[in-house]
């Protein structure tokens, strides 16, 4: 009952004109971002995060910018299907599975049915997940209130281990990405000792450089402005560099500005017939809605594995699995319901535990910290005026997204015809002006562009960059929790892995941190165990390492 009344209050606030307007604008932006090949929710959220500082200042309401970004996230999940179906290119990785049957449907002349199926399945998936979220979030956050530093660190370890064990990328490169991201987060002033570290410009080095240039500080770029790395690496600088510059250059190179679009005619009658046809897709929609949510909750999993897994399960449990890949509407409904459901699921650990479930939620988490909020179990206790309007906005955004999607499909198709040579400079421009607007200095803008170039080069060699982005967000908290735990245990790591470690001298057993730590260890070891098993059976070790 308490949840019900809190939700009603939240819905009422989410329906206030400024929040509703932000949800509508966010959904429209998200639909565009999701529909454009090469851009996904994380690109949209990262590039537009600096714009929310302005929203925060204008509304003085921390929920308002979050409603805007969450709406972009939702919209992008809907929009991804549009290019998957009409162009055969997934608008985002979350819509990869949608191409399997969506594209054949379009080629068979059923693009309108595929688009409507995707929209309605997305709506159902998003709504089911929001209901789950409303039920689970307060319970999980109240359980998490008892978590101490070792538990929180162990959960973060689990998030990184999930990337290694289930990420599907090259393991050492994933590990490098995580370590690198965490290390970037340590640059600047140490919050515990207050001393600078890794700033690459301490007093001695400054003196040496100044002597080399004859004492002329103007000869050293940015010498006076920010003291080089002493302010640390700003999260947005890395995120916009990776997703606004690096990914865009990658997309330009991969697509070479050329895509072929399948034309389609959309009318109210055809939309209605497609909605009626949804009754054939109940199975895929149901599987996607439920499975997507629970996969989305997993730290570091997110919507992409959720949608791929749901497609696989829908196909596996189908009476006619051969029809999948040939234009089966159920093959569109399952991944689309799943990616929307998973995007809501990924917000659950972010808001209740402070641990993001996907790169996009990592950016959202960073945004919350910038707006002065502390994601984690206390959020539901301390800031209900933020939490419940946001949850209310999930319901509203879902309804807005399906209506806007169905109403403006022709407009999105028109936009998809926009040459990439117009879109690309606009995105580069937004990345640069957004970074400057966030930090008011050119040093961070240059650093962002350099990160972008680096990200592009590493991407060519299959280095996954999402773990680095997640690690930069979590790095400061992970270090703080680990150091405080080790301070408590006098440097004894048993505090993390042994339930019998006596933390407070009462002899109490602590199970959550050890169990989580051991699951993380097993996940990290899983690929090695699988590799050993396959080797014993005489299989190729190479296949294991890239699964």
């Amino acid at each position: 009952m308490e949840i019900y009344s809190a939700l009603m209050d939240g819905l009422w606030i989410a329906l206030q004109p400024h929040n509703l307007a932000l949800a509508v604008i966010g959904v429209i932006v998200g639909l565009f971002v999701g529909a454009l090949p090469g851009l996904g929710s994380v690109n949209g959220v990262a590039i537009l995060l600096p714009f929310t500082f302005v929203i925060n200042e204008a509304t003085s309401d921390p929920a308002a910018p979050m409603i805007f970004l969450a709406a972009i996230y939702y919209g992008a999940m809907y929009g991804g299907a549009i290019s998957s179906i009409t162009l055969g290119i997934p608008g985002a990785s979350t819509a990869v599975a949608t191409t399997f049957d969506g594209r054949p449907m379009a080629l068979q002349g059923n693009a309108d049915r595929a688009l409507v199926t995707a929209a309605v399945a997305s709506f159902i998936g998003g709504t089911v997940a929001t209901l789950f979220f409303t039920g689970f979030a307060p319970v999980l956050s109240s359980v998490a209130l008892d978590f101490g530093n070792p538990e929180i660190f162990a959960l973060m370890l689990l998030a990184f281990a999930t990337f290694v064990g289930l990420g599907g990328d090259d393991i050492p490169k994933t590990m490098f990405s995580i370590f690198f991201g965490l290390l970037l987060a340590t640059i600047g002033f140490d919050t515990i000792s207050g001393e600078p570290r890794l700033i690459f410009m301490n007093e001695r080095e400054q003196t040496a450089i100044l002597e080399a240039v004859g004492g002329n500080t103007d000869a050293v770029p940015f010498f006076d402005s920010v003291g080089w790395f002493s302010r640390g690496i700003q999260f947005l600088v890395l995120a916009i560099g990776v997703y606004g510059i690096g990914e865009m250059i990658w997309t330009i190179n991969a697509s070479r500005y050329k895509v072929t679009m399948t034309e389609t005619t959309i009318s109210a009658g055809r939309i209605w017939r497609a909605i009626v046809g949804m009754k054939d897709c109940w199975k895929g929609t149901t599987i996607g809605s439920f499975l997507g949510f629970f996969v989305g909750i997993l730290p570091a999993a997110g919507a992409t594995p959720g949608s791929l897994m749901s497609y696989g399960v829908a196909k596996m449990t189908s009476r006619d699995p051969k029809s999948y890949g040939q234009g089966n509407p159920d093959g569109v409904a399952a991944p689309e319901a799943a990616n929307n459901s998973a995007s809501t699921g990924a917000m659950l650990p972010m808001m209740t535990l402070g641990i993001p479930g996907s790169p996009t939620t990592a950016v959202l988490l960073a945004g919350m910290v910038i707006w002065g909020l502390e994601p984690g179990p206390r959020l539901f206790e301390d800031r209900p005026e933020f939490v419940w309007p946001l949850i209310g906005s999930f319901y509203i955004s879902n309804i807005v997204a399906v209506l806007v999607n169905l109403a403006f499909i022709p407009l999105f198709l028109w936009v998809l015809r926009m040459p990439f040579t117009i879109l690309a400079p606009v995105i580069f421009t937004l990345s640069i002006i957004g970074t400057y607007a966030a930090y008011d200095n050119m040093y961070d803008v240059w650093l962002m562009v350099l990160f972008g170039f680096g990200a592009y080069l590493l991407r060519i060699l299959d280095y996954p960059l999402a773990p680095a982005v997640l690690a930069v967000v979590l790095g400061a908290t992970a270090e703080e929790k680990m150091r405080q735990s080790l301070l408590l245990s006098d440097g004894d790591f048993a505090i993390f892995y042994s339930p019998f470690y006596d933390r407070d001298g009462t002899g109490q057993e602590w199970w959550i941190a050890p169990v989580t730590t051991w699951i993380a260890v097993i996940l990290i070891a899983l690929p090695i165990i699988l590799w050993a098993v396959r080797k014993m059976r005489g299989g190729s070790p190479a296949t294991t390492e890239t699964t």
Partner: protein, 208 residues
Amino acid sequence: MRRAEFVTAFILAFLSLYLMWKSGEGPSWDTEYVHWSNTGVNIDGSGPGKGFFPFYLALGMLVSCVWIIVNAIRRTSPPSQSDEPFMDSYAKKMLLLVGGGLIGFLILIDLISMYAAIAVFMLYYMLILGRHPLLLSLVTSFVVPFWLYLFFDIVMTKVQPKGLRVIETAFYNPLGNFFRDQSLLVIVLCFAVSGAALAFTARAAARQ
């Protein structure tokens, strides 16, 4: 691609070693500090030192790089199996044109202001890389920075760099004074009119 895999892994391995060394540094004002002494797990009963976490992360990076190199030697990672070049001629040309354009964009910001640099960059990208019609390129490269100027500088008062002092005083100051005296309705109208001009030009270009 195989050579690039090795070269990158070696560069990153050396970076890791350098970061391990840097993690062990003390504050520049402490002349008695002994290198590495802040990387311990429990220093004088006050828990890990400030260098502990970065040192072991850099060590983790180094181990990962060694693993990547071993995989490359054993040809078990896709890039180390690939005979394709790291970048083909298109990719090199594209990186040079796009990357060069971006660097030029950043250099121009300090000289001719953020908005003029955006205009030049848009024009360069649309005309030279996109080969769009001149009129469409000109209108787009005027409208996009104009919208951004109205949004950031006028509506949200998030002031962007204005370039050399002469440009700021001769152009942006009077422009800012003019728009700040206008009502929000006029600003919205400016958005709409310039947007309509862009749409009209785009449509005309599409017909051709």
